[in-house]
């Protein structure tokens, strides 16, 4: 169960405590996240919403070990990420995190198969084993027959499905999706969201997703809003708004 008050179980899959992130721009300090808490269990599907500049992507980057917090800790499956050296963090990302980006971020000179194979090149799997895993991942996203196509030969929705296959192929601990439908039309966006829901429901994947789209956010188990550097549940946002209006 997802909690944002710092009272989650000690064995939560992802445990964030007192997370601060401050940027320096010019001489000014900008505090993006402040004393943020979050607990996510295995199989949870969480959507983060908030206006531009609220720190959604910053939070995702911190959870994915791409950035380091100013204060606070992030623990994933018992490993404290915030204490890791840069090289350990790289290894940790390869093992535990599957990234899905808004612009798919596929390598244009590689086929769908080769793109999906990229995370597996860092493992000790044999060529045959890698092939089996890639074919399985492409099968899950429904693109097994397009494995030899280059990204330019695929539609936006298909490119994002290849990116999802790349994210799941090494069976990571959790998936981080940064606006996964942000560059897609409604129909393709629905297909992608159905796929992500299937990964959660059928394969028990843990998904943390940033989105601007309320329709997409509603498909998650829980919507969290970033407000003034803190996470609040969607219902709470409305209460805050009413309270503000009453005042």
């Amino acid at each position: 169960m997802v909690r944002v008050d710092g009272t989650g179980r000690s064995n939560s899959l992802i445990q964030v405590r007192g997370l601060d992130k401050t940027y320096k721009r010019g001489g000014e300090e900008i505090q993006v996240l402040q004393r943020l808490n979050l607990d996510v269990d295995k199989g949870d599907f969480v959507a983060f919403m908030g206006p531009s500049g609220s720190g959604k992507t910053t939070l995702l980057n911190l959870l994915g070990g791409l950035d380091v917090p100013t204060h606070g800790s992030i623990t994933v499956a018992g490993d404290e990420v915030t204490n890791m050296s840069a090289s350990k963090l790289t290894q940790w990302r390869a093992r535990h995190v599957g990234f899905i980006f808004q612009m798919y971020n596929l390598i244009p000179v590689l086929t769908a198969f080769q793109n999906v194979e990229l995370p597996l090149l860092l493992t000790k799997l044999s060529k045959a084993e890698r092939r089996r895993h890639v074919e399985t991942a492409l099968g899950v996203v429904g693109l097994a027959e397009r494995m030899n196509h280059y990204p330019r030969q695929l539609s936006g929705g298909q490119e994002q499905r290849v990116a999802i296959a790349r994210a799941i192929v090494a069976d990571p601990t959790f998936l981080l999706c940064d606006e996964p439908t942000g560059d897609l039309d409604r129909k393709s966006a629905d297909e992608i969201m159905n796929l992500i829901i299937r990964l959660v429901k059928e394969y028990g994947k843990t998904v943390l997703m940033v989105t601007h789209d309320p329709v997409v956010a509603k498909l998650a188990d829980l919507e969290l809003h970033l407000e003034k550097g803190l996470l609040v549940e969607a219902g709470q946002v409305q209460q805050n708004a009413y309270a503000g209006g009453a005042a």
């Binding site: 791409l66 790289t90 990302r93 971020n105 390598i107 990229l118 995370p119 860092l122 790349r166």
Partner: protein
């Protein structure tokens, strides 16, 4: 190699740019090979010169003669083992383009002093018996298709007398030393003396002296020059390698010229390749950031960039050296012996390829380090 597909896919991403960059390497390596071969050819005389030989010429210039009667006086200097004398003939075989050096030699002492130029004993015996006999270097014989028994007419340009001298080719010599000169044409001193006008008789071009101990070379050289100082024919004595080096210096500082041109070529190549790699990495910042995000280490990213630049330099280098291997023999034959032997040695090939790889490594290093240090978060924001 697991990453081969990724490296090659990136390498062939922009084919025109790849062809142009590889082409730059190929041209530079071809030019390097040619310059190195020319440098080697000019320096070869000094490299293969005998350490135990001195060359004595007229102090004024090599084209001024020395008296033949110096020979016995020089032989009496302690440490001198043997002495031989030569003269430049400077004749023309059929056409002026067919240049090769012709020397009147002293048959009695030639093989004692210059033993590395080998003539089979039976051919040498025939040479001694035949006043019109001649011995050609293997390279010159092959160049004109001569075989033993052929009559070789050579038109004199310096000594007047009979317009064309006819020689009987009785032997062919080979050099025992790799890269040794196999282009000379020798004929008997007596035939020369008989054929030249009176003013040239008893005059030689230069002496070559074999000494017992190379360490005595400075002492013996001084003794020779002192012996004939203040005479009508003062001498200049130096080691054979110093003589050969001095000969090359007449053409200017070839080594400096070649090193300067080579340096400029490789520096320009470094700039071209460095620029190519920098553009290539800048175009792929987002992709490299994605690779880092999904778990590729900084070192692996550096490896990708370096592998790419090294492959470009390797392919270009091999093409350039391959072209040089094909072109240099053709060029050597087109020069008709104007330059000494052009040899594209394994050492030149290794140095060329090594330099190309070094340029590839250095040109990939800066963009590679930049990619390695790039912050994923910043780079992904730019996608």
């Amino acid at each position: 190699m697991k990453f081969r597909g990724l490296i090659f896919a990136n390498l062939f991403r922009k084919k025109i740019r790849l062809i142009l960059t590889v082409g730059s390497f190929a041209v530079a390596l071809f030019l390097f090979s040619f310059l190195a071969v020319v440098k080697g050819a000019f320096g070869r005389g000094a490299d293969i010169a005998g350490a135990d030989r001195l060359v004595i010429i007229n102090k004024v210039s090599i084209i001024q003669p020395l008296p033949l009667n110096y020979k016995d006086k020089i032989m009496r200097i302690p440490g001198v083992v043997a002495i031989t004398h030569n003269n430049w003939f400077g004749g023309v075989y059929q056409d002026e383009k067919n240049f090769f050096p012709q020397f009147a030699i002293d048959p009695e002492n030639q093989r004692k002093v210059i033993p590395e130029l080998k003539v089979p004993d039976d051919q040498w015996a025939n040479f001694l018996k035949d006043r019109q006999g001649a011995i050609a270097g293997a390279k010159t014989a092959a160049r004109f298709g001569w075989k033993i028994g052929d009559k070789i007419p050579i038109k004199t340009t310096i000594f007047g007398g009979a317009n064309t001298w006819e020689f009987n080719l009785v032997g062919i010599y080979h050099s025992e030393k790799a890269g040794g000169d196999e282009s000379q044409f020798w004929f008997q001193w007596d035939a020369f003396e008989e054929g030249v006008p009176k003013t040239f008789k008893d005059r030689i071009g230069w002496y070559v002296v074999k000494i017992e101990n190379p360490d005595d070379a400075p002492r013996i050289a001084k003794a020779v020059d002192d012996m004939f100082s203040n005479s009508d024919f003062e001498t200049k004595t130096e080691t054979e390698s110093a003589f050969a080096a001095g000969w090359v210096k007449q053409f200017g500082n070839i080594e400096f010229l070649i090193l300067t041109i080579g340096g400029v070529v490789f520096f320009t190549l470094l700039l071209v390749t460095g620029n190519t790699m920098a553009i290539s990495v800048r175009e792929r910042v987002g992709e490299l950031a994605t690779l880092k995000a999904i778990g590729y280490s900084d070192r692996t990213i550096l490896f990708f960039v370096l592998a790419e630049s090294l492959l470009i330099s390797l392919i270009g280098g091999l093409i350039g050296l391959g072209l040089a291997m094909l072109a240099i023999p053709v060029l050597a034959s087109a020069l008709n012996g104007l330059l000494p032997t052009l040899i594209l040695s394994p050492a030149i090939l290794s140095v060329g390829l090594g330099t190309a790889l070094l340029v590839g490594l250095v040109s990939g290093l800066l963009p590679g380090i930049g990619a390695m240090r790039m912050r994923v978060v910043n780079a992904l924001r730019r996608v």
